[in-house]
């Protein structure tokens, strides 16, 4: 019930992000969601794309440090308190969220949230028991 996130190590140099997105474009890879963690020395670019394996190969080929990470995507109803409820189930199960980011789905009343946790299986169980819909990779990869 997890999906693949592409992580790219980005050195703080002008043009690096342009180069990465350029490589993805040339390989006809479509981005679904994106988040950047930035530190004073480097950034970590996290991407959800339609073809994770191909994207990983293309960036590796170009000399980038990339990896695929299993993350959880949940669907959250587009109303106040929607995300909070899901996070409460995780907290109750003692699961810490390493990082998360959201993006909108095609459906107007739902937002997708990507969650990175230590123990995916445990997190999926806690969310499902709470009735939070887990989004399958294929649903996001496909338009």
């Amino acid at each position: 019930m997890t999906m693949k996130q592409l992580s790219v190590f980005v050195e703080n140099k002008p043009g690096t992000l342009a180069e990465i997105t350029g490589i993805l474009g040339e390989n006809s890879i479509d981005m679904r969601a994106l988040s950047v963690a930035d530190t004073e020395r480097y950034g970590i670019l996290r991407l959800i794309v339609d073809h994770p394996k191909e994207a990983e190969a293309a960036l590796k080929e170009a000399g980038f440090k990339v990896s695929l990470t299993d993350v959880i995507a949940i669907a959250v109803s587009n109303q106040p308190g929607g995300l909070s409820q899901a996070l409460r189930y995780l907290a109750k199960a003692g699961i810490a969220v390493e990082y998360m980011y959201a993006f909108v789905s095609q459906k107007a009343d739902t937002a997708y949230v990507i969650l990175r946790v230590q123990d995916n299986a445990k997190a999926v169980k806690a969310l499902e028991e709470g009735g939070i819909p887990i989004v399958r990779g294929e649903e996001v990869y496909r338009k």
Binding site: S7, E11, R41, K65
Partner: protein, 433 residues
Amino acid sequence: MERYWNTIETAPAHEMKALQSLRLSQTVRHVYEHVPFYRKKFDEMHIKPEDIQSIDDISKLPFTYKQDLRDNYPYGLFAVPVEQLVRIHASSGTTGKQTVVGYTANDIQIWGNCCGRALTAAGADASDFVHVSYGYGLFTGGLGLHAGAEEIHATVIPVSSGNTKRQLQIFKDFGSTILCCTPSYALFLGESLRDMGMDQSQISLKAGIFGAEPWSDEMRWKIEDLLGIKAYDIYGLSEIMGPGVAFECSEQTGMHVNEDHFYPEIIDPDTGEVLPEGEVGELVFTCITKEALPLIRYRTRDIASLTREKCSCGRTLIKMKKPSGRTDDMLIIRGVNVFPSQVEAVLLELGDTAPHYMLIVDRVGNLDTLEIQVEMKEDMEFDAVRLIEETEAKIKSAVASTLGISAKVTLLPPKSIARSEGKAVRVIDKRKI
């Protein structure tokens, strides 16, 4: 009027040579009888102790290397039974493979005597307060100068290293007159004095003895200016004794070697041949009075030259130039000896990174800094900042505990460190010394 601690410091050449010859022949007999390592070596080279009659015969003897000390770790090269040992010191190194040295009561007495000569040359006497900011412990710096100060009946203030504010307070309140520490720390103390709004009139320092790391004349002038003192160089290494193997006089143009105890030679590091006076090569010492650990022709890896030119101070002890470099890749960072191979060993043992690294040494605000840049493994998880920071912190703490030095650790993506076709370039030393 120049003062000397011992009359031997101004002895005529023939007298020194006779003394060295006698002491060398005694030492050779001592090691042949008590150190199996040397007996084996001498036998292999068909050298009998009676073949060594004069100091000129020294070139017949084999060299001793740092590796020999490691191979015989910890006490294998000691020439006396434990009952006669009174002290152990050790130089920094990877855990379990430090260079361990030992002293008899007589060795310690001679060490104090040599440091006493250095202090006397720097103008110290029984009326002085000798402030020792070298570290006390396995490192020879602190206890060496401490013994020297006691030898000349000065009053020792054994402050040890660190806590700069307290050091300055002690200058002021206890009336320190002679400072002993590393040159970079002396500079830092001088700048801290200024930054804290204190001036030279509030302290009584008149001279300092600085060593254990390379420093330049520019640094000397800056220290002299900031602290209002005269700054003297001192040379030593634990394998031979510690600080006080050689020391500077008022002329400040090189260091007089205590050659009645440590016989110096300059050799070609490639061929091992002894080079004539004045030529630059590797400095080699033979301990001719040591009892516990008398090393024969020890290869220091320091590059220097020797001269017997007349010195204005009146001492006839041979002078060595300040070492201009090393024949190996050893770095001296804040007084700590660091070999790139030691850092490599730590990285490999942890196994969290690729074996590609670069050491960047710099001097920021007069203190040496070390940055270890190392590549991540191809399969390392790095999608959260925490994962990178944790790996960096783990390496930092392993380096601190095994090498005794604090370093900044920077993880880099794979293949970002330039690969070399030949000998890998592992070090960038940006310090201007």
